[in-house]
Structures are given as structure tokens and as C-alpha cells.
């Protein structure tokens, strides 16, 4: 911008003459910001209408994305919580489900691989519980070796982990007790044709399929009728200071017919599987997009109509010397303000909503990344939405103010 010519002292108005001072970018920006905010807050009804659009988009997209992440979490929760840094699974495994067995020679080999602190097998399969009143319910049976840390129960709300050492004793999911025929501590149930007793309960261990039930490895072996030299997965804990990736590479090189993954790799593999091989990704992606599109339309139209309503004021601004760029600054400040205000309210509401509906079956995963992503997205959305208003503003003829 051009040099600023010294201004006369205020109070003593200078004589009429060409005005050679010019506003810098910052001065124009702050002036337009103030005018834009004043106009915005002047028409409160329209402001709330626009905010409603942002809030709607924020709540709906976060609710959908949070539910989606919640479902993703259900799929990865076992891998996340089983305590293993590295997993040895059957070749071609993509997600976590009952499936092929591998030889226990893998377990022996893993135990002597450098960098491995601990290796334990687990059995992972479907079992059916016969209910006292007739009928039956499936559970996802996990068999782990004592002390039941690698692959054992977590989020225990009743009972001690060590109870798994007692004969025929198992842990079940607390929120499924009713579903499992009013299961109580020391209730006896027939599981795959064998009587077991409920020794304790976990909370929230509901994956996509039937809830997790934990047994000692040998009990699980007889329930699932698995041969002595077979197992489903080997869970590996690496030695302090060892890099799980190095250990994974070493194990993969040493073992054949199995796939070795770090915990992070296994989790991403599961997420990839859910996104590409199940309709979950598309379903939630579509409804999230829908929320964003509806928000975009509401914000676009209400900012556009605010311009139409105030077209005379915008014409006046142009007539006295504001440029299209100045008015773009005004709309920019308005749209960012709408985005920030709307996102704050929306995120507050969606957090409350999440608290309200939180249960063992469904928990919205509202992670910080989601909130940051939403804020950035909403700013982008609102600025983009203001382009419709800007196109209208560009058409405003300053000459209109004389008519």
C-alpha cells in the first residue's frame, strides 16, 4: 500500500482537497470485520438461522463419525487391549474372527526369538450357551494362559482374574447378563455341552459379534475341541527397549505359513477391512456427508439471503469506496465467526448427546482429532458457503443507491 501522508491534527478539520491517504490491508480488513460482525449481530434471527445450519452439520457429522469410530473401536478393542505388541496370526488374516488354526511350533519359535520378552497362545472361537429357560446364545470364547494377562479379560467389574484358574470357571460380559439368561456370579451354564460357572464379569466388551467370554486355555481347548498342538493366535510382548517392528520382521522371517503384525498394523488392517469389506464405511460416510451438505446448503442460503436483505447497505458501502475485495473480507469474517460459534455449540451438544446415550453396546468415540477436524472442516464449509453470497455481492451496482 502507498505511503501514509501525515494526517492533520483531529479537531481542526483540514480544508477540502484530494485525500491521498490510503488504508492498509490490515485497516481495511479490521474495518470490514467490524462492519460484518455488526451486521451479523444486528439481524439476530438470521444469525441464529445460519448458526443452526452449522450446529446441525456439526452435530450430525460428529454423531455419525463418533458412532462410526465407536464401531471401529468394537472391531479393534481386543487387539487394543490384549496386551500384545506383536501378533502371530494365520496367513491371510485381515480382521479378528474365529478361523483357521496354526501350529504350536510357532509359539516355541517365538519364545526363543531375540527381542521377545513373553509369548502366549490364545484360542479364539464361537461357543454357544444353553439358557435355563430354553434357547441358546452365542459368545466369543477366548482362551488364555495363566496368569491370563496376554489375551485375558480386562475392564473387570466383578471377580478376580485369578479365578480363571479354578476348574470350569469363566468370565462373561456384565451388560449381557440378562441376555445370557440372568447370569449371576456362580451361575452354572452349559457352554458347548459342558457345564461352566460364572466367576466374574467384564464391562463393555461387546465387539461387533457376540460378547467376549474368557476361559483358561485348557478349558477353551476342550470347549472348542482344538487339538493339543494347535492354537489360534500367538501374542507376543517385546522386551523393554525392543522395537515391535524389528521383532515383527524377525518373527516373520523365522516363521512360515503365518502372518506377523505389530499391534498398530493389525489395527489398521482391521480398520481397512471394515472400510472396504463391510458396508459400514459407506453407510456412515454417506450420512456424515449428508449432514455436511445440509449444513452447507443452510449456511449458503442464509448468508445469501442476508446479502439480499441488506443489498442497499452493501450498495452504499460500494458507493462510498469499498471494493469487492473489501466485501469479500467482510463475508470471510462473518463465515469464520459462524463456523467457530456454531462448532462450539455443536460440539458441546454432541458431547452431551454422547454422554446421554453412552452404554456398553454403543459408545460414541469423540476423539480430539475429530473435534479439531470438525472445526477446520466447518471453517472451510462456511467460507465456501459464503461464495454464493459473494457472487451476489459482486453484482451489486453502487449506482443503485441513487435510485
Amino acid at each position: 500500500m502507498s505511503a501514509v501522508v501525515p494526517l492533520p491534527a483531529p479537531r481542526q478539520r483540514r480544508p477540502a482537497g484530494p485525500i491521498n491517504t490510503r488504508a492498509t490491508f490490515r485497516m481495511r480488513f479490521s474495518t470490514m470485520a467490524v462492519v460484518g460482525l455488526r451486521m451479523m449481530f444486528h439481524d439476530k434471527l438470521k444469525m441464529f438461522g445460519t448458526l443452526a445450519g452449522v450446529i446441525f452439520a456439526t452435530v450430525l457429522s460428529n454423531q455419525q463419525a463418533g458412532t462410526f469410530l465407536g464401531l471401529i473401536y468394537k472391531n479393534v478393542m481386543f487387539v487394543e487391549n490384549a496386551g500384545a505388541d506383536v501378533w502371530i496370526v494365520p496367513a491371510n488374516t485381515e480382521t479378528i474372527q474365529a478361523g483357521k488354526l496354526v501350529s504350536d511350533s510357532n509359539l516355541m519359535a517365538a519364545k526363543v526369538t531375540p527381542g521377545v520378552a513373553e509369548a502366549a497362545p490364545i484360542l479364539f472361537g464361537n461357543a454357544v450357551m444353553s439358557l435355563p429357560g430354553g434357547g441358546s446364545q452365542p459368545v466369543t470364547l477366548v482362551g488364555a494362559k495363566a496368569p491370563w494377562v496376554l489375551g485375558g479379560p480386562w475392564n473387570i467389574v466383578q471377580g478376580e482374574r485369578e479365578l480363571l484358574g479354578r476348574p470350569d470357571t469363566m468370565f462373561f460380559e456384565d451388560s449381557d447378563r440378562e441376555y445370557l439368561g440372568n447370569l449371576n456370579l456362580r451361575s452354572v451354564r452349559e457352554l458347548n455341552g459342558h457345564n461352566v460357572v460364572a466367576g466374574g464379569f467384564t464391562w463393555g466388551l461387546l465387539p461387533f459379534g457376540p460378547s467376549y467370554a474368557f476361559a483358561d486355555f485348557d478349558l477353551a481347548r476342550s470347549l472348542l475341541r482344538v487339538d493339543n498342538d494347535q492354537l489360534h493366535f500367538v501374542l507376543v510382548k517385546v522386551a523393554p527397549g525392543a522395537d515391535p517392528k524389528d521383532v515383527r520382521s524377525r518373527l516373520q522371517a523365522a516363521l512360515t505359513d503365518v502372518k506377523v503384525m505389530t499391534r498398530a498394523e493389525y489395527k489398521s488392517s482391521i480398520v481397512r477391512y471394515v472400510l472396504t469389506k463391510t458396508p459400514i464405511g459407506i453407510t456412515f460416510g454417506t450420512s456424515t456427508l449428508f449432514g455436511l451438505v445440509v449444513g452447507l446448503v443452510i449456511v449458503s442460503l442464509s448468508m445469501f439471503s442476508a446479502v439480499v436483505d441488506n443489498v442497499r447497505e452493501f450498495g452504499t458501502l460500494k458507493a462510498i469506496g469499498a471494493t469487492n475485495t473489501d466485501l469479500a473480507k467482510l463475508l470471510f469474517v462473518q463465515s469464520v465467526t459462524y463456523a467457530v460459534m456454531g462448532t462450539l455449540v455443536g460440539l458441546f451438544l454432541v458431547t452431551r448427546l454422547a454422554e446421554g446415550i453412552r452404554s456398553a453396546k454403543l459408545a460414541l468415540q469423540l476423539i480430539p482429532e475429530l473435534f479439531i477436524g470438525t472445526s477446520v472442516l466447518m471453517i472451510g464449509l462456511c467460507v465456501f458457503a459464503s461464495t454464493l453470497a459473494l457472487l451476489r455481492l459482486r453484482k451489486v451496482e453502487p449506482a443503485m443507491v441513487f435510485r
Binding site: P10, I19, A23, T24, E313, T316, A319, I320, G321
Partner: protein, 227 residues
């Protein structure tokens, strides 16, 4: 720069539209105003008064002819330079006050000063000073909706004078006011303009204020009548 003539218009034409719907509103207008002069521009409806004023105010470009403001040829200015020329040379008073409803009297004036490069503190001081001059010392913080028609038009005059542009253009500034207020604001405009040397062109058919003009120029059917 030719300081003798503040506003200089030579053989200006303005045609709206094109083809079959083209309409020539100005058909070769010659007009000039000396620095500090207070000129009334009068004529029947549709004669081209607003069109001429818009061209003087760098809001419209002429179709042909010369337009100079203090010696600068604005008829050749590019469209994108017009806003800058308006900030540099022109203050406007409109028929309706055209103040921003969401801003106070002070802010309406200070906003324009900011666009003219004043810093915030000085702009507010100057706005207060201008409001004092139009006798609105007690209305600094009032919004247009809280002011009477005459008061609003006085704020509009203060805004037109903000930063002391050389040329003040007013299109029927009294049309929305009663006789008393119409006369009053024209007197204020004239007094303040004379005091600081503004050149003023007032479009009006209000014969109650004609006597305040140094000169009355008549326009009819796109042509200036001989004085």
C-alpha cells in the same frame, strides 16, 4: 493540476444498455464548478440529473466526453480504479440517508475514515467532531433507527464531509424531509462546505432551497440549458 476548476465536464454522453433497448440519458453535457462553489442542479424527472451526478461521483463511467475532478481525468479511469477515486475525491449524501443500520452515528462516519486511511482513534475523534458540527453532540452512540429523519440526514452529511473530500455530491437530500428540516440540513451543508472549501453539487427540485445555491444549473432531456 488545474486548480481553477474543481469539477469539469465536457461534452459528456451516457447511453444505458445497447442495441434496441439503448437509451441515451446524457446527450453532450458541459458542466463545471469552481472550488468552493455550491451548485444546484435541477430539472424534470428523467432528465439525467442522477446520471450526471453518478458520473461526477465516479460511480458510473461516461460513454464519451471528458470528466475532470481537480484536473484528474476520471473519464478514462478503469472500472477497478473507481472505488479508489471515490475515496479520494467524493463525499455522497443520498436521498435516503443510507447509513448502516447496525452501526452507531460515530461508527458510520469512522468506518469511512478508516477506509480513507485514518487510524481508529483519530477516526473516532474526527467522527465526534463532525457530529458536533452538525449539532448531534448527544447522538454519538445512537443507531440510525433511534434518530429522526432530519438527524439521520445530518449524520449522512457528516459522513460525506469525513476526511474532507474536495467534492460533495447530494442527490435530492431533502426529498425525504419536511420543509423545515430540508431547509435546515441544506443550510448546514452549505455552511460547512463554505467553511472548508468543498465544492458541492446538489440535485433538487425543491424550490424552497434554491436560494441557497450560488448558481442553479438546469438540465432537460440530457442537455444543460444555457444559464
Amino acid at each position: 493540476m488545474n486548480q481553477q476548476v474543481a469539477v469539469d465536464v465536457k461534452n459528456v454522453t451516457k447511453t444505458y444498455g445497447s442495441g434496441a433497448t439503448a437509451y441515451t440519458a446524457l446527450k453532450g453535457v458541459d458542466f463545471h464548478a469552481e472550488p468552493g462553489e455550491f451548485v444546484m442542479l435541477s430539472g424534470p424527472s428523467g432528465s439525467g440529473k442522477t446520471t450526471l451526478l453518478s458520473i461526477l461521483g465516479c460511480v458510473l463511467s461516461p460513454s464519451s466526453g471528458y470528466v475532470g475532478l481537480l484536473g484528474e481525468d476520471i473519464s478514462v479511469a478503469k472500472e477497478k480504479d473507481l472505488p479508489r477515486l471515490r475515496l479520494q475525491y467524493v463525499g455522497f449524501v443520498f436521498q435516503a440517508h443510507n447509513l448502516l443500520a447496525s452501526l452507531t452515528a460515530t461508527e458510520n462516519i469512522a468506518m469511512l475514515l478508516r477506509l480513507r486511511g485514518w487510524d481508529q482513534k483519530d477516526a473516532v475523534k474526527e467522527a465526534h467532531h463532525l457530529l458536533d458540527q452538525v449539532d448531534l453532540s448527544d447522538k454519538y452512540h445512537s443507531r440510525p433507527g433511534e434518530l429522526s429523519g432530519g438527524q439521520r440526514q445530518r449524520v449522512a452529511i457528516a459522513r460525506a464531509l469525513a476526511g474532507s473530500p474536495p467534492v460533495i455530491l447530494a442527490d435530492e437530500p431533502t426529498a425525504a424531509l419536511d420543509a423545515h428540516n430540508g431547509l435546515r440540513i441544506t443550510e448546514i451543508l452549505r455552511e460547512l462546505a463554505k467553511e472548508h472549501g468543498h465544492t458541492v453539487v446538489v440535485v433538487t427540485h425543491d424550490n424552497r432551497i434554491f436560494h441557497l445555491g450560488d448558481r442553479i444549473v438546469r438540465i432537460e432531456d440530457g442537455l444543460i440549458l444555457k444559464e
